[in-house]
Symmetry: C2
Subunit: 227 residues, 2 copies
Amino acid sequence: MILEREFSVGDVPAVMWTPEGAGDTTPLVLLGHGGGTHKKAPAMTGRAAKLVEQNIAAVAIDAPGHGDRPRSDYDEREIAVMQEAMAKGTPVGPIVTRYNADLARRALPEWQAVLDHLGRDAVGYWGINMGTAIGVPLAAKDHRIKAAVFGQFWPETLEEPARGITIPIEFDLQWDDEHISREDGLRLFDAFGSKEKSLHVNAGRHKELPRFEADSAVRFFQRHLTP
Amino acid sequence: MILEREFSVGDVPAVMWTPEGAGDTTPLVLLGHGGGTHKKAPAMTGRAAKLVEQNIAAVAIDAPGHGDRPRSDYDEREIAVMQEAMAKGTPVGPIVTRYNADLARRALPEWQAVLDHLGRDAVGYWGINMGTAIGVPLAAKDHRIKAAVFGQFWPETLEEPARGITIPIEFDLQWDDEHISREDGLRLFDAFGSKEKSLHVNAGRHKELPRFEADSAVRFFQRHLTP
């Protein structure tokens, strides 16, 4: 049984999934969605269902310019440039890195307002791709995040905040990622200051992250958030 | 409830752990122990207990020159050289690589005789360190092995057999291994010909492989050996 409740904090639409009978002591994980998707995309509802099954609650918000939120002119321009690169087959890394760094600056106070609103001071964070671009600076700044699952992003903008992160980390990479080189992926994993950090690399391309990694992430949160 | 039965195949002492009510269709995993230990070392009985809990049987044998088996003059010489290197703090990799390649040549027909004896034609293999030095050439040669967990070994002698291996693999490395460099560890993982292969890297030194990796290995065998 999974309870879904939509709400908003300021003008940020959010959704929360809880197991039946959940209370203030039920562990909570923030879910950061990927680029071009939204708070209720299948990857989010799927992860929420797996968490709730283990008696962990989950909350997602639409990132700036995503889901039910308006795109700024800047958003439109960056998305056009990115789509052009995709179509041409030229590297998207430099564009995504730059655009997501801007999204992260906008999203950070929003996630912090959500945590204030929920009155929680010890939560997990789980986000891959753009979810990592936002989650790494968030976890570096907000110490209410006690454990995080990240992965599949370039190191340029995230290495510095990652160095300041010391919470337990699980980090996913794809060994045959056509966008992120092995060297770049490993460099970001290496940067985390965490004493306990695990890297999970799987054979396959960017979008082929195996589903069993979601089960692994849930177990990671069980280890770190469940009393 | 775990049933333990000791037996031998030729002059190779073996031990088998089975769940209650196990039969010919109960999945089976071969456990290869590490250098200097034996078939009933705590790492082996611990892994066996975790497997049996999930209704998977396990079998271990003493490697040549280990446990209840006599050491040859060659074994004694190599062990002395290795202990000297350890004491001096000089690299052990070249010695372990050479000695374990010899042990693997001796152990391969022994493992194959155990499989013949048990009449099994679809099993898993789980061995780290020396267990990998023996398991990689075994899995390359004997196609009764359908899934394997390996890790923490140098690439020189194992890259070639690894290239011929196409079964699902889970591979463990330590990010701060004082004996095996990151580059060497990643090179061996990269060599496997498997379409499905997962690398688990954890922060920590050679002997600090986290216990949760054993749980992960058990789930890996559940995915691949359980109907």
